[in-house]
């Protein structure tokens, strides 16, 4: 009995220590990466390629998801608002939801799977194949070479992708309202503009910047901590997606509580 209790306590203690170690290592990685910003000659040449990989290459999947999100939002809004509520509130609901929530969050979750897992797997592979060690041997700053351009590219490109996703989501919701619902463009635009504030767009941009940093940062962290070969790479990719998704949702709640 005593052994079981002590075993359980040891499990809790080890998990807590591991979590705290992880947080500490992540903080150390963040600080080291910030310090690596001064090595611009190392990370700058890789910034645009990473922007292309992380941002431009993610646009199709982000737009695909946003399109169907807009369609579903419009249909569900019309279904929910049937009755006494004016139909132009479909525009309000689609616009507000896409700008404030679904555009940034769904795009970030999607990119957590695509970009985060990709970075984690890439860096994990480099780690298990000792390419990262080789960089250090060649006097390359691995953080400036591997982490900084990815994180900066995500910070720069996530808002772009999110803005495009928001625009397309609203557009698809608009077209759905015109084609599938008994609505006119003036009605939809009226609802769209009814409660619109420019701050809403800034809110989406701020959220997407933080989401980009989290997704790539978590991917880099788990990638650089990959161990035990291909199995470890897969585990790192999975952890990246899970942790990044959780952090995205936590950050989403944090920004909503602090900025709105």
């Amino acid at each position: 009995m005593l052994e079981r209790v002590s075993g359980a306590l040891a499990l809790v203690g080890s998990r807590t220590i591991t979590a705290l170690q992880g947080m500490g290592q992540a903080w150390a990685l963040l600080m080291a990466s910030a310090a690596s910003l001064r090595n611009a000659d190392v990370w700058l040449p890789h910034l645009v390629p990473q922007m292309a990989r992380i941002g431009v290459a993610s646009v199709p999947i982000a737009l695909f998801i946003a399109t169907f999100t807009g369609i579903v939002m419009s249909l569900q809004a019309s279904y929910t608002l049937t009755g006494t509520i004016p139909v132009y509130f479909v525009g309000t609901l689609v616009g507000k939801t896409m700008i404030l929530e679904l555009g940034p969050v769904l795009t970030a979750l999607t990119l957590a799977g695509r970009v985060g897992a990709n970075i984690s797997a890439e860096l994990g592979t480099m780690r298990v194949t000792e390419q990262v060690d080789a960089l250090e041997t060649l006097a390359y700053d691995p953080l400036a070479y591997l982490v900084v351009p990815r994180v900066l590219a995500a910070i720069l490109m996530f808002p772009i992708v999110v803005l495009l996703a928001i625009a397309l989501g609203i557009g698809s919701g608009w077209i759905t309202a015109l084609q599938l619902l008994d609505m006119s463009s003036p009605e939809f635009v009226k609802g769209l503009r009814l409660f619109f504030l420019p701050w809403d767009v800034w809110f989406a941009v701020i959220k997407s910047v933080s989401f980009g940093a989290v997704v790539t940062g978590v991917g880099c962290y788990f990638g650089l901590r990959t161990e035990r070969g291909a199995e470890g790479v897969g585990r790192s990719a999975t952890r990246t997606v899970v942790v990044a998704s959780m952090l995205i949702l936590c950050l989403d709640a944090f920004w909503a509580a602090t900025l709105l």
């Binding site: 645009v48 292309a52 004016p86 509130f89 772009i160 928001i166 769209l192 503009r193 767009v201």
Partner: protein, 328 residues
Amino acid sequence: MERRREALVGLVVLLGIAVGVVGTIWLQGGLRRDMVELRAATANVGQLVAGAAVRFRGVSVGRVDAVAVTPGGEAVMVHMSVRPELALPADAAVLLAPESVFGDWQAEILSLTELDLPYFVDYPEDGVLPGAALPDFSRLTATADEIARNLTVISERFQIAFTEQTALQLRSAIENIGEVSDGLSEIITQQAARFEDLSEGVNASAAELGAAARVARTSFERIDSIIGSAGAGEMLGDAGAVLSNLRSLTDELNSSLGDMRAAARQADTTFARFDALLAAAETGDGSVGKLLGDPALADGAIEAVQELRALLADIQENPRRYLSFSIF
């Protein structure tokens, strides 16, 4: 390859920025650089928020930029941007009201003469329009709730007061009211009949008066014609003479009446004395009374009268016995 990738990244970045900027501007209602700022002071703004529509005669002419409490806290200042070509009325005011029942509010520019609400705030600053806000639905709901509670109290009191006995009394009262109503109806019917008779009489009287008036008019016309004729002066002269004779006759009658009044007064005096005499006789005072009251005296008087008569007869038969006539 590298150049192509960079171009692609640049395109996507620019496209994203353009979408964000243009979309924001479009959702705001377009570029608003050429807008004119308006300010209005209200006691409260209800549910009005920045971005709400500003309307003039139902047309959207701008947006609400900001809502802020004045430094003194006595009012709320609503900052608006409206189209520069908008011609405001001289007595323009801003009414904040719900745009729909779902919480979206609007600021409507109107003329105070159109809607003279008593609670427009007149802020003592140039360029600030007076403003007012209609009660929002929460206030209406609160008022309705208060009314409902009052109704509940009234209902409870009514339930307490309205017992079975009250119902019976009420029924009896209603029956009494019915009887009274029937009586009143009957009285009214009778009075109506009387009024009809009266009105008929009035009508007849009015007709007669009308006829009399016509006759009078005819008479007056005739009098006018007579007065206006040539023999009127002579007739008037005759009438004056007759009146003069009547006046003299009246004077004579008056003097005769005065004499008659004097004679009547003397007769009254005589009768009074006679009454006194009779009273004295009845009481036995005086000679006549004693005469009337004493039979012996009466007999004596009779005898004296008889002797006097005998004496007179003897005198007449033998005058020389009693009379002697000589000159010297």
